[in-house]
């Protein structure tokens, strides 16, 4: 921790640079307009699986304002379908996904026809007059249907729906179970969810036939990835494509992917040579945005008499969509859901099989936490089952099994996780103290006597953050994993940082400015941040897997250090001392004899205008670029423990969230204000998954809760106050020592709510296994227990 905590690392500085958002001066994609801008509305498939027989477009042209009605075959001439078949995951195969359906459509809501008009309203009027004749085909909508032997293929290119098959750990773990004192087992169900960003997806594409350049503005997390995608699909040189992500209204992984409807917009612009805007509306968002988390699992855990874990044996069946999500595939969620089971603990023997099943539903892709919320929920529920089987307190059960480092001489855990030093025991100790655990347990016991059912839930987690090139590279996926910072000292002494990192509200750009400002002891508003625009930033990953500060911060720190070294050489020459004697205080050099009056502005003026005044005879670089990707480890593991205190009404089926605590170790904290809010926001998304959120499909694949009144996301009244604590173990992979935190909240919250609910229901002999835990599912469990006790 550097001593300057006023504005450097560790200062809870507010985001002054973001004040404009509170004044309505944000610039999101839909706020951007330009002359001649056209608008698109899509005619979308009404069936889960169908074949287009005929499209009649003429009536649409009767609408004043309709300029063009474009079908799949029109775009096929200039745009190739997505080909999402990562060589490194051989069985994860996917049919080509065209921008617009050509003949086979395999999820309700897939874009079929693009109506282009002078306004969105006119485009929608036109879309209503396009007649599409369909042949409805049989569909596989649930995981059970998709994995049945007689299953209908979700896409006729295949004769079954298996699209992922993998095993982590040992082939056989049966002897760990053979001589176990206790074996506990449970099944788990996780509902299909979607990210529900308040700002829906949106894109403007402008192909200029004169310059033969494509400009795209898009609400997105990884503009560099999208530059490569559009160049590949349209057969353009990447250098002729520029993608800019302006202000983004929330992303959460949902805006990490390449969508067919957005590709269609780009292709339409290329076809027409006109700027075209398309903003997804809320109904379309539910049926066409990436889905995630649909999974079924079964897990067994073997224990010795004292409660030590001897072995874990698990199977996860994950529900994907009709196509693999482009470009990173749909396997990420399922793989981490299986591999991360038991991660916080020494588990002895470990086996986790994972299967991915194609379904006639929208493609599923990474969403905040990427499978780790499922692994954590399974693990922590099993730990509680084990604690009651062995007869020890759930806190003790966790403490005696926590892992702190890799086993002696091991390169990875049984599941293949390369884990650095963990601090779960210290996090747990701090958590138990913060929540006054013993008092809550005593109060819980007393209240049960009066028929009031309180629950205390605990969830320990390990989370993979700052993921490097080791994840996607070997799988043959062209995904940038480095983060870069191009730092420029302006003639007036201010600094410009162009970073590959992007910010959808996490505050990463403010934290980077704060970090850089701290290195020169200047005010953060003296550091201008440039991000999200491939025309003005260095190449790099963007925002995914909680990498902003972990990797982007390290690049910024290194660039700042190199810049400072160059300036100190000039200053040392002027002040007749050694560069190592120098430091900076509020933007001016401090020499051996104290403040020198030599300001950054003065040095900058010398370097830019009066190089001859530099005693070295030459001047240092005014622009320095550093790029960083972790080389020694594939990712940086962070960890923490969640706890939630709830009250369940076993007759109404309602759950009240009384209080929530989390103690998280994300290494060096640059700005605690931003980090704590990332945790709170992530926790509430995790609570949404646990209690409210599910994409409800009818048995024939019709999405049935496509409004914000029916797909329930958490709102203010039901959410608890969340008490945030920290343990700080800097990572050794970087000089900065920061680990990722963006997903830590979402990873642990579903597990905490699940264990709290089963703790609350245990005196009734009831248990819930299917998330979200709606009133109906809670009451079904209670009524089943009542029937059994009769």
């Amino acid at each position: 921790m550097t001593e300057k905590t006023t504005n450097g690392i560790g200062a809870p500085l507010p985001r002054e640079s973001a004040r404009r958002l509170a004044e309505g001066r944000g610039r999101y994609v839909d706020d951007i307009t330009m002359p001649g801008l056209l608008h698109i509305a899509f005619v979308r498939a009404p069936f889960a699986h169908g074949r287009v027989l005929k499209i009649e477009k003429d009536d649409a042209f009767e609408v004043c304002g309709v300029v063009a009605v474009i079908e799949g075959k029109d775009l096929a001439e200039i745009c190739v379908p997505y080909d999402t078949n990562p060589t490194g995951v051989p069985n994860h195969v996917s049919a080509p996904q065209p921008p617009l359906v050509v003949d086979e459509s395999c999820f309700q809501g897939e874009a079929v026809v693009a109506v282009v008009a002078t306004s969105r309203a006119a485009a929608e009027d036109g879309a209503e007059l396009v007649f599409v004749d369909w042949d409805e085909l049989p569909a596989s909508c649930s995981i059970e249907e998709a994995q049945a032997d007689s299953a209908v293929p979700a896409h006729t290119n295949f004769d079954d729906n298996l699209t992922l098959k993998h095993r982590f750990g040992a082939v056989d773990v049966s002897d760990a179970f053979a001589n176990a004192a206790h074996v506990v087992e449970s099944n788990f169900d996780f509902g299909r969810q979607t990210g529900v960003t308040l700002e829906p997806r949106g894109i403007i594409a402008h192909w200029d036939p004169r310059t033969e350049e494509l400009e795209v503005w898009q609400s997105h997390q990884v503009p560099w990835q999208m530059r490569e995608v559009y160049a590949t699909q349209l057969g353009l040189s990447p250098q002729s494509v520029r993608v800019t992500a302006p202000d983004v209204g929330g992303a959460f992984g949902l805006k990490l992917h390449a969508y067919a409807d957005e590709l269609a917009v780009v292709a339409v612009s290329k076809l027409m040579g006109r700027p075209v805007k398309y903003i997804v509306d809320r109904l379309e968002a539910f049926t066409a945005d990436a889905h995630a988390r649909e999974a079924r699992a079964i897990c067994r855990m073997a224990l010795d008499p004292q409660g030590h874990i001897l072995g874990i044996d698990a199977r996860v069946d994950a529900g994907f969509g009709a196509y693999a999500m482009h470009p990173r595939g749909s396997f990420g969620e399922a793989m981490q859901a299986a591999q991360m089971i038991g991660a916080p603990y020494k588990v002895g023997a470990f086996r986790a099989e994972v299967f991915g099943w194609r379904q006639n539903k929208p493609p599923s892709g990474a969403y905040r936490g990427v499978g780790q919320p499922i692994a954590c929920a399974i693990t922590e529920d099993m730990i509680d089952l084990a604690a009651s089987a062995v007869g020890i307190d759930p806190v003790e059960m966790r403490r005696i099994n926590y892992r702190s480092t890799l086993d002696e001489g091991a390169r990875a855990t049984e599941a293949g996780l390369v884990i650095e030093e963990l601090s779960l025991d210290r996090c747990l100790a701090k958590l138990i103290n913060a929540m006054d655990y013993d008092r809550l347990r005593a109060e819980q016991t007393a209240l049960r006597g009066k028929g009031v059912y309180r629950g205390i839930g605990l969830a320990s987690f390990v989370e993979l953050t700052g993921v490097g090139a080791g994840l996607y590279g070997p799988l043959g996926l062209t995904v940038a994993a480095n983060e870069a910072c191009r730092l420029t000292l302006q003639p007036d002494g201010s600094l410009t940082c162009a970073t590959s990192v992007t910010d959808q509200g996490q505050g990463t750009l403010s934290a980077l400015a704060q970090l850089i400002a701290g290195e020169f002891d200047i005010a953060p508003d003296k550091v201008r941040m440039i991000a999200g625009d491939t025309g003005r930033t260095p190449y790099g990953g963007g925002a995914w897997a909680s990498r902003g500060m972990a990797l982007g911060g390290e690049a910024a720190k290194r660039a700042s250090e190199r810049m400072r070294e160059g300036l100190f050489e000039v200053a040392a020459g002027i002040l007749q001392c050694e560069p190592s004697d120098l430091s900076l205080a509020n933007g001016a050099v401090v020499g051996p004899k104290g403040p020198s009056g030599l300001t950054l502005a003065e040095i900058a003026a010398i370097c830019h205008y009066r190089p001859y005044d530099s005693p070295l005879g030459k001047v240092p670089q005014m622009t320095i670029e550093e790029s960083f990707v972790p080389s020694d480890v594939p990712y940086i593991a962070s960890n923490g423990v969640h706890a939630v205190h709830i009250e369940v009404d076993p007759d109404l089926g309602t759950v009240m969230l009384l209080d929530y605590w989390v103690v998280d170790d994300c290494g060096t904290v640059v700005n605690p204000l931003l980090v704590d809010e990332q945790l709170r926001g992530g926790i509430v998304q995790g609570i949404g998954a646990a209690l409210y959120e599910e994409c409800l499909y009818s048995e024939d694949g019709q999405f049935t809760n496509g409004t914000l009144a029916d797909y329930v996301v958490p709102m203010a009244c039901e959410m608890p106050d969340i008490h945030v604590g920290h343990v700080t173990t800097p990572t050794r992979s970087t000089g900065l020592g920061a680990k990722g935190v963006g997903e830590a909240g979402t990873v642990g919250a579903p597990g905490a709510v699940r264990t709290a609910l089963n703790d609350a229901l245990s005196p009734l002999g009831a248990r819930v296994t299917q998330q979200p835990f709606t009133a109906s599912r809670i009451l079904e469990a209670v009524m089943a227990a009542e029937a059994a006790n009769k």
Binding site: E124, L283, V712, M715, A775, L779
Partner: protein, 287 residues
């Protein structure tokens, strides 16, 4: 999703609105617009003519007389909520209004609009049935009065003809000592109610002198629980009565089939909700 185009009439008088409605089979009235404009935006409605009655004078009054509170068609939920005379005279309305949606919706949504539309999960129709309110329907043929207890016939089915406008609601002033009974189960504050109870109760010498109760939310339309009320009359207000009434309510309701919950689960919830609501209503002092 952008609303389809439509003709717009800003009616300056009630007659002008009624004539336009009678002449245009595909015309629809706009008052608060909180349900209608959402349906227009979602393209679920494509009327040829929207008749805006917001500028008709004389429809936004709240009139409290000795035994009746008259609420005009343009009275916003928030306006009624802030009217001390009306809420003192109608304790059930005072208890239920805070459950209606959210502040921004209550600022524009009208109480009579909610009564006319008859959403099964809406709070105001349930209160109108419990309080035996009278709804005044106007058309080019004149006006007619319909009891709220007859007005709601089925899921979104009411006695209002397409050419009629509900211009006023008359709520009987609750006799002194009347206690409101209102409670509902929602997933989030302000959501459509999964199930709810709206009623009025008056105690005389510790026993039930008057009792009206309506179940709503899971029912296709507000359901007046007359035989439950019969059980209560004359009984002493104690935990025994609460248990009997809670069971009677649970037996009397007929929840719609829904993928969200089976009727059996809804009945169990009604029993618990009734206990909670009755316990609260009975403990209230005679304020």
């Amino acid at each position: 999703m952008k609303s389809p185009d439509f003709a717009y009439l800003r009616a300056e008088s009630l007659d002008e609105a009624l004539i336009a409605l009678a002449d245009n089979e595909d015309g629809i009235v706009l008052a608060g617009g909180q349900s209608l404009v959402a349906a227009l935006n979602l393209r679920l409605q494509a009327p040829e003519l929207v008749i805006d009655i917001n500028h008709i004078p004389g429809l936004d009054g709240i009139n409290v007389t000795g035994d009746t509170v008259r609420i005009g068609a343009l009275v916003r939920h928030a306006q009624l909520m802030a009217h001390s005379g009306a809420t003192r005279a109608l304790p059930l309305i005072r208890a239920a209004l805070p459950y209606v949606a959210h502040p921004a919706i209550r600022n524009r949504g009208t109480t009579c609009g909610s009564l006319a539309y008859g959403d099964p999960a809406a709070e105001m129709p349930a209160c109108a049935v419990a309080m035996d309110a009278t709804l005044v329907l106007a058309s080019t043929d004149g006006t007619r009065e319909v009891s709220a207890r007859d007005y709601y016939e089925g899921l979104y089915e009411t006695q209002r003809e397409p050419y009629e406008i509900l211009i006023e609601a008359h709520f009987p002033v609750a006799p002194t000592g009347t206690r409101a009974l209102f409670d509902e189960v929602v997933v989030r504050r302000g959501d459509f109610a999964s199930l709810g109870l709206a009623g009025q109760m008056r105690l005389g010498g510790g026993s039930i002198a008057a009792f009206d109760l309506v179940a709503f939310g899971s029912e296709p339309a507000p359901r007046l629980l007359t035989d439950v009320a019969q059980i209560a009359l004359g009984r002493v207000a104690d935990t025994g009565l609460i248990a009997d009434l809670a069971q009677a309510i649970s037996d009397a309701v007929r929840p719609m089939e829904s993928p969200l919950a089976t009727p059996e689960i809804r009945r169990r919830q009604y029993r618990a909700l009734a206990k909670r609501a009755l316990r609260y209503a009975m403990e209230l002092s005679d304020a």
